[in-house]
């Protein structure tokens, strides 16, 4: 099964339910206020957020003026195109530094998938013959460093770690030095999960990032916020608060191999204008995909993009 297929299958579970809900209420022809009300609820349900929802409703109203919306597929296509446009507006590839090492810092709430995503990114670079160093700057959660060490061994990356409970800034410092000394191409910094509501933990994160930019000019090249795809509308709040505290340059949405909604991606792109850059679709090191705006948008509504090449 192609990876794209897998992604689409995962996403189609979302769209099945979204479609299921719309199917129950759609009637061809004019869009009644009642229908649009229900559609509004369905879209909010799909975690696409209030702003994107009203954008989509507005778009439908406009389109309906031009010509009657005859089928559900028409309805989906109009919305999918709009969502694709929202994604495309902020789309941006992962930055790679001309002067190695490139540095990515992973941030996010507890259990969102930071450590696993690091292993996945490391694997991709190593498969391309690059040298990767991992910084175990989660010194808080029990056995977090063990977890990263096991991954490092599995994918063939170096790891820099200190004792449990030590200063994560110091780990970042040593890792930055080590990745320069060892001529690494990529440094991936794992950080402890933190609730966006905790001020002091946000300060700690800023410090880690400061240390890195002092040691490696221009770094970090990406601060990637990892969001669990099963997250509801709180995902938007998470993204907002993390972005207010640190310069979040991209988002990775994980666990889309379940029946999770990709909806939160729409909310983030539309309301915060932060690009989605990666998609996690499993627990294995290979289960990571780049984000492709229109594919993702179409998958949300369970549509095929005929003529399009499988990106994998």
């Amino acid at each position: 099964m192609s990876v794209f297929r897998k992604l689409k299958d995962g996403l189609s579970k979302t769209s099945n339910s979204l479609r299921g809900m719309i199917e129950g209420i759609f009637q061809p022809g004019v869009l009644t206020d009642e229908f649009l009300d229900d559609l509004e609820a369905v879209l909010i349900q799909a975690d696409v957020g209030v702003r994107a929802t009203s954008t989509l409703i507005e778009t439908l109203r406009e389109e309906a003026k031009k010509q009657p919306i005859k089928s559900e597929d028409d309805l989906y296509r109009i919305m999918a195109d709009k969502v694709g446009e929202i994604f495309l507006l902020v789309d941006e590839p992962l930055k790679v530094s001309d002067t190695p090492p490139t540095v990515y810092v992973m941030v996010g709430v507890n259990g969102s998938g930071k450590t696993t995503t690091i292993a996945k990114i490391a694997k991709q670079w190593i498969d391309n013959g690059k040298k990767v160093v991992l910084a175990a700057a989660d010194t808080f959660r029990a056995a977090a460093d063990d977890q990263l060490a096991i991954w490092a061994k599995r994918v063939g990356a170096d790891i820099v770690s200190h004792q449990h409970g030590s200063d994560p800034g110091a780990v970042a410092f040593d890792a930055a030095r080590a990745s320069i000394a060892r001529k690494a191409d990529l440094l991936l910094v794992d950080t402890a999960g933190r609730m966006h509501t905790k001020k002091n933990l946000m300060e700690e994160l800023k410090k880690i990032i400061r240390v890195i930019s002092r040691e490696i000019p221009g770094a970090p090249h990406e601060v990637i916020l990892v969001i669990d795809g099963t997250t509801g509308q709180n995902g938007l709040v998470q993204a907002k608060v993390f972005a207010e505290n640190v310069d979040v340059t991209g988002v990775c949405i994980t666990k889309l191999d379940g029946s999770a909604k990709g909806g939160i991606a729409v909310a983030i792109a539309s309301e915060l204008e932060i690009p989605i850059k990666l998609v996690g679709i499993g627990e294995k090191a290979d289960d990571l995909k780049p984000f492709v705006p229109y594919d993702f948008a179409y998958s949300i509504f369970g549509l095929d993009r005929t003529g399009d090449v499988d990106p994998s």
């Binding site: 579970k13 339910s17 809900m21 509004e40 609820a41 369905v42 909010i44 349900q45 799909a46 975690d47 209030v50 709430v109 507890n110 259990g111 969102s112 998938g113 808080f140 959660r141 029990a142 056995a143 977090a144 063990d146 977890q147 060490a149 096991i150 991954w151 599995r154 609730m195 966006h196 509501t197 905790k198 669990d228 099963t230 997250t231 509801g232 509308q233 709180n234 995902g235 709040v237 998470q238 907002k240 608060v241 666990k255 191999d257 379940g258 029946s259 999770a260 909604k261 909806g263 939160i264 627990e283």
Partner: protein, 446 residues
């Protein structure tokens, strides 16, 4: 902590409802249309809080039916009646009451934890172990997660932190063997409780769900708890339904409640599966674990503090006539030391000042910390009695020499007089701040 957490996520919902209820409040009588309009807002607010679509539909139907009774329609305070009904129905949805853990019967009692990846099972296992250990039970923590790197090590560390024993088998043992052996071990070593931590799994992963079922089969756990992240969206219901189907869950642990998620998903789970939420996890420390209270959660979802408790408390203990007079005064921005004394006495009837203030969403923290103890009231009384009528009416004129005289007269010190004045000015400021008539009316603080 839950009561006043007026964080960003709540603001929308709270202010939304505030707006709707304000509109209602202006009306002497409610029509069906008014109620429909209100419920439309309630519906959107709940959807935004991640409450399941169907659950919302049923919920608003029930609320509507209750609102259309004459009791509400003809009430002088229909808005309050509506809020009250919404709140009561929410509590019902959440299970209505607390449900204790069932670990009765012949020991060891087995508790199995299930859930999606990253939902917080392992930390919850450690927290639950500590919770039970504090009740004097001998707990064995068991890791059946053979997949996630270092998951077993994580639980072992948590067991140490909780001061309980840990069990697993060497690499390569399948999860159900670990589970079975751990129970044998617990039996022979006289443990009271065995907590089985299992690997995170997606409800769509048939193989892994089958494993979950086998673990249940070989150990017959008395409690099968589903661990759910409070930030989960609409997924929560589907996840809970499948887990319930496969392992017949007996309850839910809701984690990451220290986030600002409104936890509407939780509401839906209780409704959809009919299984109660038993615990909530409120932080990263091993002690951050509490028994679940539906009423507090309802307040949190509505984003209005325990405002109803406040209304009721205030209603039952305030002197209505005095309250009306006070309201009139506040409207004219009058608040004297005598009023202050009156208020303190009233408030004393209701319990500590701080407790009450803390129930008001968005209330200034400093003000909420004011405590009223009986001795304090006696002192305040003495001080105020030593003042001249004009000083009582107009405390701003109280100078240094007056303070010395008052202190002497009341057998207190200048510091105590100062403290009282400070408290008074603070209270006055705060009352004028929230003293917009309709708010005061709603709170019946006056």
């Amino acid at each position: 902590m839950l009561g006043v957490n007026m964080t960003m996520a709540f603001e929308n919902l709270a202010s939304r409802l505030e707006g709707v209820f304000k509109k209602l409040r202006g009306k002497g009588k409610l029509s069906e249309k008014d109620i429909d309009e209100t419920l439309r807002e309630v519906r959107l607010a709940l959807l935004e809080a991640d409450v399941n679509f169907k659950v919302v539909k049923d919920f608003t139907a029930i609320v509507k039916e209750r609102c259309l009774t004459s009791e509400v329609l003809e009430s002088l305070t229909p808005a309050q009646q509506v809020i009250k009904i919404v709140n009561e129905e929410l509590i019902q949805l959440l299970g209505g009451r607390t449900y204790p853990l069932d670990i009765s019967g012949l020991p060891p009692a087995i508790i199995a934890l299930y859930g999606l990846q990253g939902s917080g099972k392992t930390s919850s296992a450690g927290k639950l172990a500590l919770h039970l250990k504090k009740q004097g039970r001998r707990v064995l923590l068991v890791s059946c997660d053979v997949y996630r790197p270092a998951a077993q090590r994580q639980l072992e560390i948590l067991a140490e932190a909780a001061g309980v024993s840990f069990f697993t088998l060497a690499d390569g043992a399948p999860p159900e063997s670990i589970a079975r052996k751990s129970v044998e071990h617990a039996r022979s070593s006289a443990f009271d409780v065995v907590i089985l931590d299992t690997a995170g799994r997606l409800q769509v992963d048939d193989e892994m769900m089958e494993e979950a079922r086998r673990i249940k089969e070989v150990t017959s756990p008395k409690e099968r708890l589903l661990v759910v992240d409070a930030m989960t969206g609409q997924e929560a219901c589907r996840v809970a339904e499948v887990f319930d189907e496969v392992v017949d869950i007996t309850g839910v642990i809701l984690t990451k409640m220290d986030s600002d998620a409104r936890g509407g998903a939780a509401l839906s789970i209780a409704k959809v599966t009919g299984k109660p939420i038993k615990f909530i996890s409120v932080g990263e420390k091993i002690g951050d674990f509490e028994i679940f209270h539906p009423d507090r959660m309802a307040s949190r979802i509505l984003g209005m503090g325990d405002i109803l408790t406040l209304i009721e408390k205030a209603e039952s203990s305030f002197d209505k006539e005095k309250a009306a007079k006070m309201e009139e005064k506040l409207r004219r921005k009058e608040f004297t030391l005598e009023d202050f004394l009156d208020q303190m006495t009233e408030v004393k009837k209701m319990g500590s000042f701080g407790d009450i203030m803390r129930m008001i969403p968005g209330f200034p923290k400093a003000a909420a910390n004011m405590e009223v103890d009986p001795k304090e009231i006696a002192r305040v009384e003495a001080i105020i009695n030593s003042m001249t009528p004009s000083e009582r009416q107009n405390p701003d004129i109280i100078s240094g020499s007056r303070k010395r005289r008052i202190a002497k007269g009341s057998g207190t010190s200048v510091q105590e007089v100062n403290r009282l004045l400070r408290q008074f000015f603070q209270a006055r400021k705060m009352l004028f701040q929230i003293g917009k008539p309709e708010k005061i009316g709603k709170l019946r603080l006056s």
